[in-house]
Amino acid sequence: MRSSKKIIIILTLFVFFIVALYLATFAGHDSFGFGLLKKSFDLKNDTDSILLEVLRFPRVLKAVVAGACLALSGMILQAVSKNPLAEPFITGISAGAGLGIVLSVLLFSGFAYSFFGFVGALISALLVIIFCGIGKFTVTKLILTGLSVNMFASAVISFILLTNPDDTYTLTYLLTGNISENTGISDLTLFVLFIIMMFLSALMMPKMNFLRLEDDFMPELKTRRKVYNVVLIVLSAILAGMSVLTVGILSFVGIISPQITRMLVGVDYRYAFFVNILLGAIFILLADLVARVVIYPMQIPLGLVVAFVGAPIFVYFLLKKGGLLND
């Protein structure tokens, strides 16, 4: 595929992204939000401006951060493990995050539960990486250790759920995955953190192209590969942790977005990077719009929408001619 065509794909996705951004910010259950758009220019302290400032803007920011981080984290892990099934939470992150959320609800009645989830995610990822050993790192080890840490933490979560019936509903809801309304850090901090992480990831993308080569092709690659692998896995763990901070435990986007990206622009990660984060962000923005609007005034947990909408889309891409399974 010529690079001009890839750039056109990126630009098209960017337009879609802007549309999704508009809808997620202004559309409601009864309108496409043109009235709200007009009102957003005169800053009065009425219900509508509170709606935008307190609810919609932070929500959209979190949706974008979550989508981009999940997609990127998944792509990195799929590249490192050379396994298309790898997902962001493979390093034991989901259950670690879950445990963090559960503990925050039990001990601090839900204060900054997302931040606890974030910390739990990072601790479990760190544990897995240490268990694997940085010098003797292999992907198989990573997957199996991650699996064990996940199993262990899940057992602890189930035990806590059973013994604290008063909090079961809250916990089940929070563990389903939803745009978090109190992350424990300010939205500006989140935004800055996001930009830094995206910048660091972008720097690693050309290096990721090396990982596609076989070791025998370039002998000195073998030692470098280990270093790259560890750096990339730490990076993906932080990205997955950020997704926990913003939407809780929700990983499916991390599998499908990189796959669809590969279909659209192939495996040159310099292009795939942009396509992938745009796809991830668009997907979460639209999924959250659906979650917010369909059964208003209640809302569907975002995790459910992602599964409802994501699974059929993914199967379509898998089975269609020239799709993922036919290359």
């Binding site: 307190v54 539960y113 809801y173 005034p297 209640m298």
Partner: protein
């Protein structure tokens, strides 16, 4: 033959009297509200076991604990061997399992002030405390009618904040607010305890917000910078969230907002 007939008579009479004069029926209550009612009508002596959540009156906590709303220890239940197990609605699926143990499940629906009265009266009949139960209901009715306010405010009742859960018109709390003369702003939701979006709450424009379980309330304060927010204490929570014999106090609480 005479002997046989007299023996038959005697045995028949024994059966007859045995049926009539067996010791009083025993109960296990899995609902704090139903436990409260049993105490209020003076039938607590027939209560063999309770759930871990039954904490009112204080002496209820001394009864044998059978489990909570998610888990019932069947072995403890079998040892107590009650005639009936009292359940509040929501435990419907659990009731199926008790028939096999030879314990009759009784499911009570308490969605409104009136259905609470009905529950009190029906428990009174079941335990032979008919007069007591009638008195309890009469006193509640009297107290409630004197408590009512005539300047209705728009009340938003939130069960909890993360996620935001409120009350719909199927909840008895909604009926208690109505009975107190106030208006529950979420009364158009046809549900018991729906999880709602912050956007929806923002548009309701309540005069006063009552929060049952407090947790991180930063968002709530940002949404309603000028609205009075009341956080319930543990005692107030037990009082208001239980469809039982202290609803007069719950009605008073809302009337005086």
């Amino acid at each position: 033959m005479k002997k046989f007939i007299s023996k038959l008579m005697i045995s028949l009479m024994t059966v007859f009297f045995a049926a009539d004069f067996t010791e009083a029926k025993t109960f296990v209550s899995m609902s704090p509200a139903l436990t409260e009612i049993m105490y209020a009508i003076g039938a607590d002596g027939d209560l063999a076991g309770v759930s871990t959540e039954c904490n009112y009156p204080a002496s209820a906590a001394n009864k044998t604990k059978v489990g909570n709303s998610y888990y019932i220890n069947k072995e403890v239940l079998l040892k107590l061997n009650p005639d009936y197990i009292l359940l509040a609605e929501g435990a419907g699926s659990a009731s199926l399992k008790f028939d096999k143990l030879g314990i009759k499940p009784l499911l009570y629906k308490m969605h409104s002030v009136n259905s609470i009265y009905e529950t009190i009266l029906s428990l009174g009949q079941l335990t032979g405390k008919v007069e007591n139960s009638k008195n309890v209901v009469k006193n509640l009715k009297n107290d409630i009618s004197s408590a009512k306010t005539h300047n209705p405010k728009k009340v938003l009742y939130l069960i909890q904040l993360n996620p935001l859960i409120t009350i719909g018109n199927k909840s008895f709390i909604s009926d208690i607010i109505k009975t107190s003369g106030q208006k529950s702003v979420t009364d158009d939701l046809t549900a018991f305890y729906p999880a709602v979006s912050a956007e929806y709450l923002l548009k309701l424009n309540p005069d006063v917000i009552v929060v049952s379980i407090k947790s991180d309330d930063k968002l709530l304060k940002k949404l309603f910078p000028n609205t009075k927010i009341i956080y319930l204490t543990k005692e107030q929570n037990d009082l208001i969230n239980r469809p039982a014999t202290r609803i007069n106090k719950a009605v008073r609480f809302f009337a005086e907002l």
